[in-house]
């Protein structure tokens, strides 16, 4: 019970989070309200007109054809106008709902661009994708149904009530007394289904994450003939989803029949009451005009119409509950704290000299597991610093700090004497070219992939960069050359070819500082030797940080940092370190061991 209540509160808060997205649609919303009111009024007029016509059709030889024709003409006009307004209404509603979801997705995406990397490093991307795509869709469906039906529903109820009172007080009273039943039933069911939808949504998220992981790694799955185990795990989640879905689907589908049953009850009551009033005119205190057959007909039509909007509203309530559950997950993402924005007085670093200093830096990903404690280092402009050490020693962490993907816990990283926290991230990062070991190729043409950092680069510049990176020759052999569309996972390209593209990217931007994180680890040495001069040209005069395990590529460095367990245990040039005969010398000599 408590759980239910908190679910409901978070559901309400989630809907509240949608308010800012709604604001700019208020003028359109006003138009919707006017259209809804007008079309409801005209819709309600039709039964009255027809009731009056029926009163003119009494029996053999007792038909007023002129009157009937006039009334039917009015019906025609009302119907035509209603149809036009209904269509406009849906068009407006679509505009509001689709644009709201567009804005929600836009903001969710903006948040993805600004989330701290620590969030992205610890949340499965499949789950986030499911929020932005599937949940946003459900919100949109809910809102669509909500907008179209909630307002016409409410207006129909009020309008019908007015017409009923005008037709006959007693029948109106009977309807008013009985309808709360319908409301009660709808509320009762909706309350119970919200938590079921929430459970369904959560299980669905779990399943999406699993699908995302296994489909993404399908090739490995097949290599290990692990299909059966996966299928078993999938079936287990799938079965749980089936149970949750069944409950959510069945109980939410009870709303319509239940309210319809109440509707039929009201209908029977109105028929009885109307017939009695007609049989015993005056027997009920004589309130209101005596009923005619036409008026009873109108009352019965209204009784039908009166409960119908309750059906729809309760349908809307279910949809909204579902949408609220999804909106909650979506707004959770949107309200997730973004990484600390640039300081207010952050300065631009237009063209860095490239002096980098680490002052007593301390950092760890998890507070309980210290990684870097008190690391100090001065790198003069143009210096080439190589970072070596066993796998997992914290080499990549240094780069995370320098790029400000993560902030130091203590101490400071400075560039040209400025604490990097006092610089705008963009101006810092624009001065650093980065090539990572994990290549990332986007779903776009080869050209767009190279021009990632400079979308305005000319064709000549792009080809020149590709040539410098020794990527030109394989690109030419692709089916459509530079226009070949690469898929997200790199498609038919080998790891090395992907890496060459990533290098070409940096070749195009010529930054002041360079980070090469195992940049050549997946390029063959023959090619590497061939692009070595390109690298050398790229690095000339630029402060460079080179993380590598291939020691031959770092021998030329001005300073070699040997890291182990988050600390720099040795530093110096290649010659000095070899002479010292320490960890580095051991590491270096091991590559010739066989």
């Amino acid at each position: 019970m408590k759980e239910q209540k908190s679910d409901k509160v978070s559901g309400m808060r989630a809907l509240g989070a949608l308010v800012p997205y709604f604001k700019r649609h208020i003028p359109m919303f006003v138009a919707v309200t006017v259209l809804a009111a007008a079309s409801v009024a005209l819709t309600l007029l039709v039964p009255i007109l027809i009731g009056k016509a029926i009163d003119l059709i009494i029996g053999e030889g007792q038909v007023d054809f002129v009157g009937v024709a006039r009334l039917l003409l009015y019906v025609g006009i009302a119907v035509g106008a209603t149809a036009l307004m209904q269509w406009l209404l849906s068009v407006c509603n679509n505009k509001i709902a689709f644009e709201m979801v567009r804005d929600l997705r836009r903001d969710a995406f903006r948040k993805i661009e600004r989330l701290p990397l620590s969030y992205l490093d610890t949340h499965p991307s499949g789950e986030i994708v499911s929020r932005v795509i599937a949940d946003a869709d459900t919100v949109s469906d809910g809102l669509l149904m909500g907008f179209t039906q909630l307002f016409t529903g409410v207006l129909t109820i009020l309008g019908t009530l007015a017409f009923l009172i005008w037709l006959n007080m007693w029948i109106a009273l009977c309807v008013v007394v009985l309808t709360p039943l319908s409301l009660f039933v709808a509320r009762f069911i909706a309350r119970r289904t919200y938590s079921m939808f929430r459970a369904q949504s959560a299980t669905r998220g779990e399943q999406t994450a699993f699908i995302d992981e296994m489909i993404g790694g399908q090739k490995v799955v097949q290599a290990f003939t692990h299909e059966d185990e996966n299928q078993a795990k999938f079936d287990e989640i799938n079965e749980r989803l089936r149970r949750h879905s069944l409950r959510a689907t069945f109980f939410s589908s009870l709303v319509n029949p239940s309210t319809r049953a109440v509707n039929n009850l009201v209908y029977a009551a109105v028929a009885l009451l109307g017939a009695m009033i007609m049989i015993y005119p005056g027997g009920f205190g004589g309130i209101g005009p005596a009923l005619t057959v036409g008026a009873l007909f109108s009352c019965l039509s209204y009784a039908n119409q009166y409960t119908k909007p309750f059906n729809e509203i309760s349908g809307v309530v279910t949809e909204l509950q579902n949408a609220a559950a999804c909106a909650a997950r979506l707004s959770e993402l949107i309200r997730e704290p973004a990484e600390k924005p640039d300081a207010e007085n952050a300065r631009e670093l237009p063209d860095a000299q490239g002096e980098v200093e680490l002052r007593h830096v301390a950092f760890s990903y998890v507070p309980q597991r210290p990684l870097i404690e008190d690391l100090s280092l001065l790198v003069k402009p143009g210096m080439h610093v190589a970072i070596v050490g066993p796998t997992g020693c914290g080499k990549t962490t240094l780069i995370n700090l320098l790029m400000r993907f993560y902030d130091v816990r203590d101490g400071a990283v400075t560039v040209d004497g400025y604490d990097i926290r006092e610089l705008t991230r963009h101006s810092l990062r624009r001065n650093i070219g980065m090539v990572l070991q994990d290549t990332w190729i986007r779903h776009a043409t080869v050209r767009d992939n190279i021009a990632l950092g400079r979308p305005d680069a000319s064709e000549e510049e792009i080809i020149a960069a590709a040539k410098e990176a020794h990527a030109h020759s394989f690109i030419k052999r692709l089916p459509q050359g530079y226009d070949t569309v690469l898929t997200g996972d790199g498609g038919g390209l080998s790891a090395g070819q992907r890496q060459l593209l990533c290098i070409a990217r940096v070749m195009l931007i010529h930054p002041a500082m360079l980070i090469l994180d195992e940049a050549t680890s997946s390029i063959d040495t023959r090619t590497e030797m061939k692009i070595q001069d390109a690298f050398a040209r790229l690095m000339r005069g630029r402060t460079s940080f080179i993380v590598a395990h291939r020691l031959s590529t770092i021998r030329e460095a001005d300073l070699i940092l040997v890291m182990k367990d988050g600390n720099v245990i040795e530093q110096g040039t290649h010659g000095e370190l070899l002479a010292r005969g320490g960890f580095y010398a051991k590491l270096y000599n091991s590559q010739f061991e066989v």
Partner: protein, 575 residues
């Protein structure tokens, strides 16, 4: 679509009972206008209170029985629809698992995920609504017409005309909207793609300060989706107003024609009311039907997309029984093997021939894109040869059942990928029956023992999706251990030491040599040091074999190999 409907088969009973109970409910509803007409014509006209009471009691009874039928129907429909969705997802997952690498490349990850998630959900909703309403609505429509005919046959012609006009209108709307829905779904795929990309490439995007541009691109894709949705909406939303107009044209005709009949004494006032009520029942049902058709249209489009995946047959067909193997035959033999990928210009691999004996090591060396990975992918038959043949233990790989073939081969892929779970669970992928001792042995050979020992929970240390909580080198060593756990006949190391430092790499090579016994090893590498002790080395350049032999013979005869060696040894010699 047949492929998709199959999933309803186990729910045949529910699929019959759900509409049946819905029809029952509808049938009770159809009596209501007749009862009301009798109240007007007999009860009120004759001031017969008892009759009115009886008839109103009948209305109440009809309502209650209708309710009971409806709840029953909803239950059966939910069971069938949810069961359908569950079975579709299961089948899709299992189908995707059975596809070969070639088809997986073609489909793409994003598409497969959309099929399994939003498409299935939409199709499930479609089934649910179809079972509940698709039979009921036409039944009420034609039932109302029949009931009208019992009142007055001539006037029921108006019903026939209206219904015909409605069907044409609804069909037209559907005809126009189906392709539009497909297009808006494609736009959704694009938005999905963008989102995924920006999650997986967050570091690169930020490093290149691409956030604003990405946002602009996303806004384009997102805007295009919204525009497409609005366009479909504008047309599909014509359905309700148009049906409303058509029905009311019918009502006008009906009242006027009814007035003429009443004037002639053929019809009573109550009967005109009943006819009108039937007409409005048709309206209510058709509005439902129209909404239903919109949903079903979407669902059918989704169903078709699901079916397209299910209809894909793996381009690999394999026999059910294992072939005769020859223990004396070379463990691996390539015979004039060529491979061309679909759509690619030049062949990726042409005319490769070699044999490898039991317990021997094969080194494959060559530049990026020279065809090394393609070559090893042929051994477990991930891809198919275009011509020539690959034989394992004397039998063509195409004659093996896939799981028998792949049991024999341990693969360490280039991209070291671990899966969410624990270290132990990941290692057991190699061999679900392996004991802890075997796991530790494999870890020791793979130089990964320190990875496990450095973790507080050891083998039970959790692994996050993709192995994100391990470094590249740790992941690689764990993936090597995973392959070793299965004790394969052929171990394939596809550039699997690239993230390892030289010391670890050297220790790994030594351990592999010492620990492996009769296992044959295929090493793909760009480092000569990793392959120089191989019994046989194949040097590839642009898909062609440019040299074959041992380190020493190749140094003499093969220019490409010499260049590779020079590029790597230069550092060593002048150090």
């Amino acid at each position: 679509m047949k492929k998709v409907f199959v999933f309803l088969k186990p729910y045949r009973m529910q699929c019959i009972l759900a509409p049946l109970f819905k029809l029952l409910e509808a049938a009770f509803e159809l009596f209501v206008p007749l009862v009301v007409a009798s109240i007007i014509d007999r009860g009120i006209a004759a001031r017969d209170t008892a009759y009115v009471l009886r008839m109103c009691g009948l209305l109440l009874l009809l309502a209650l029985v209708g309710y009971a039928s409806s709840v029953t129907a909803q239950y059966f429909a939910s069971v069938a629809a949810v069961g359908f969705g569950t079975a579709s997802r299961k089948a899709l997952f299992s189908k995707i698992q059975s596809l070969s690498y070639a088809e997986l490349d073609k489909l793409g990850t994003a598409t497969m995920i959309t099929r399994m998630t939003s498409d299935v959900n939409q199709a499930q909703t479609g089934v649910n609504l179809t079972l509940r309403l698709l039979m009921r609505s036409p039944f009420v429509v034609f039932g109302a017409m029949l009931m009208a005919a019992t009142i007055n046959a001539r006037l029921s012609l108006i019903f026939a005309g209206v219904i015909a006009a409605l069907i044409v209108a609804i069909y037209l709307v559907m005809f126009v909207t189906v392709p539009l829905y497909r297009r808006s779904q494609e736009k959704l795929d694009r938005v999905l793609d963008k989102t995924r990309e920006n999650l997986t490439g967050a570091r690169v995007i930020r490093a290149f300060c691409m956030e604003e541009k990405e946002e602009a691109d996303f806004d384009d894709a997102n805007g295009a989706l919204t525009a497409a949705q609005k366009k479909v909406g504008r047309i599909s939303d014509l359905t309700n107003p148009v049906t409303y107009v058509l029905i009311n044209i019918g009502v006008i005709a009906l009242i006027y024609a009814g007035a003429v009949r009443v004037n002639l004494g053929e019809l009573s006032q109550g009967q005109v009311v009943a006819l009108y009520n039937y007409m409005s029942q048709i309206l209510v049902e058709l509005v439902k039907l129209a909404n239903l058709i919109v949903t079903v249209t979407k669902s059918v489009a989704c169903g078709k997309r699901i079916a397209r995946v299910l209809e894909m047959s793996s381009s690999l067909s394999a026999p059910a029984t294992a072939p005769e193997t020859d223990p004396k035959a070379p463990v691996l033999a390539f015979d004039n093997v060529s491979v061309s990928y679909a759509g690619a210009g030049a062949p990726s691999l042409s005319d490769v021939t070699f044999t490898l004996g039991r317990g021997q090591t094969l080194g494959i060396i060559g530049g990026t894109g020279s065809g090394k990975t393609t070559l090893v992918n042929l051994i477990p038959r991930f891809y198919e040869v275009s011509s020539g043949s690959v034989r394992v233990e004397g039998a063509d790989v195409r004659d093996y059942p896939l799981e028998v073939l792949r049991e024999k081969v341990g693969v360490v892929p280039q991209r070291a990928l671990l899966f969410a779970g624990t270290i132990r669970e990941n290692l057991l992928w190699g061999n679900p029956g392996a004991s802890d001792e075997e796991l530790y042995a494999a870890l020791r050979t793979a130089q990964a023992i320190d990875v496990v020992e450095s973790k507080p929970l050891g083998l039970d240390e959790p692994v996050e999706a993709g192995g994100r909580n391990f470094s590249g080198g740790q992941r690689q060593r764990l993936t090597i251990a995973r392959a070793l756990v299965r004790h394969p006949d052929i171990l394939i190391l596809d550039d699997s030491a690239s993230a390892l430092d030289y010391a670890t790499d050297a220790r790994l090579r030594r351990a592999l040599r010492e620990d492996l016994g009769g296992m044959s090893v295929v090493v793909v590498s760009q480092r000569t040091s990793s392959v120089r002790h191989a019994d046989l080395m194949v040097v590839l350049d642009d898909g062609e074999v440019v040299g074959m032999g041992t380190h020493d013979s190749l140094r003499e005869t093969c220019t490409v190999y010499r260049e590779i060696c020079d590029s790597q040894e230069k550092g060593a010699t002048d150090a």
